[in-house]
Symmetry: C2
Subunit: 209 residues, 2 copies
């Protein structure tokens, strides 16, 4: 394949370096999406280790579907890494708007609410997509090549971390949201996702011998 | 900084693509080391968000030490990503050695034991280094910029996943190890690390508001 070799600094270190730098973004929210992407990659690997093996021939059509779906989710999560960092910066930019008269104050308040809306919806989507990855991993834990069950478990745990981490970013912004219904809805949805993710990840981990 | 931009495919996608491919390595073991590296990066970020702020001036010397130590651990974990994949391939290569006569059989058995020794020591080191990262994150959760506490929690959870994931790879190889004492020692050490990591990660997560 044409991918970069594993010991390449560029392949491995750049995102970590961007995180390590003394700027708040990319931070936990981008790392959440990145963890979801890695979970999807492990799932794809296990599908690929199942496809083409005569003894799993009957499962091949479904494993191919799962792999393609994980690839799609991984691609979206990869985009969410950058979207999370951008949404954080947009909130800071809104707070920096001038507030010297009533018009400016109203405009600034509106800009803050718009930016906060995105800063909630981005990690919420990261959590939703990572949860979809986790549900596919649960199916792969049953139908995939059993030699790779520990890889499915690692993927499930990373998807769970992605969901919890995204939840921190949702929660951090809800207090500033003026739309109380939307805020409560996001809060309840995140709680459900975190709870169900914990159950599924534990279920998959229990399958490792 | 000179790092690659966040939306660059090379910075984000290459490692995930190598994982997703239908080869067993890089797999869960390399992803373990990668997760430990990301945990270290989040810790470095929080140190950097603490250093240089007048209100945390008294903590600056210690935060600088913690950041430098995390950078060192992150660098080693980055190396372990590739070492894990190589150690897996070395085990496969040893099994593929000829076994047509007694000399060849003895040589092959010896080569397998040598390769298995490395395939245990690499994930064990991944777990040890990730545990060191986790212990530093625990300290940062107390002394670091409290605005970034959720980033410390995400890092702690990733370090915990790294340790559990490395543990799967240690366990997978112990059955083949002929040195029973070394095998038992590795097994006990891993159990301790997994248990303590769970406690510390939960302790840090409890600090998020």
């Amino acid at each position: 394949m044409s991918a970069m070799p594993l010991d390449s600094d560029q392949a491995l270190g750049c995102f970590a370096e961007l995180v390590a730098a003394g700027t708040p973004a990319p931070g936990g929210g981008s790392v959440a999406a990145h963890s979801g992407m890695m979970a999807a990659a492990l799932g794809q690997m296990v599908c690929n280790l199942t496809i083409g093996k005569p003894k799993f021939a009957d499962r091949e059509p479904r494993m191919t579907e799962l792999r393609d779906e994980l690839e799609r989710l991984g691609r979206r999560l990869r985009e969410l890494i950058a979207e999370d960092a951008a949404s954080f910066e947009a909130v800071l930019a809104a707070y920096r708007l001038p507030k010297e008269n009533d018009d400016q104050k109203a405009e600034r308040a509106q800009a803050i609410q718009t930016a906060i809306g995105v800063a909630v919806s981005v990690p919420l989507e990261t959590a939703e997509r990572s949860f979809e990855v986790l549900e596919l991993l649960r199916e792969i834990a049953v139908g995939g090549n059993p030699n790779a069950i520990s890889d499915v478990a690692v993927g499930s745990q990373l998807a769970e971390v992605a969901i919890k981490a995204a939840g921190y970013n949702v929660a951090a912004n809800l207090g500033t949201m003026s739309d109380v219904n939307k805020s409560r809805e996001a809060d309840e949805r995140m709680k459900t996702l975190v709870e169900q993710a914990k159950t599924i990840a534990a279920e998959v981990a229990a399958k490792v011998g």
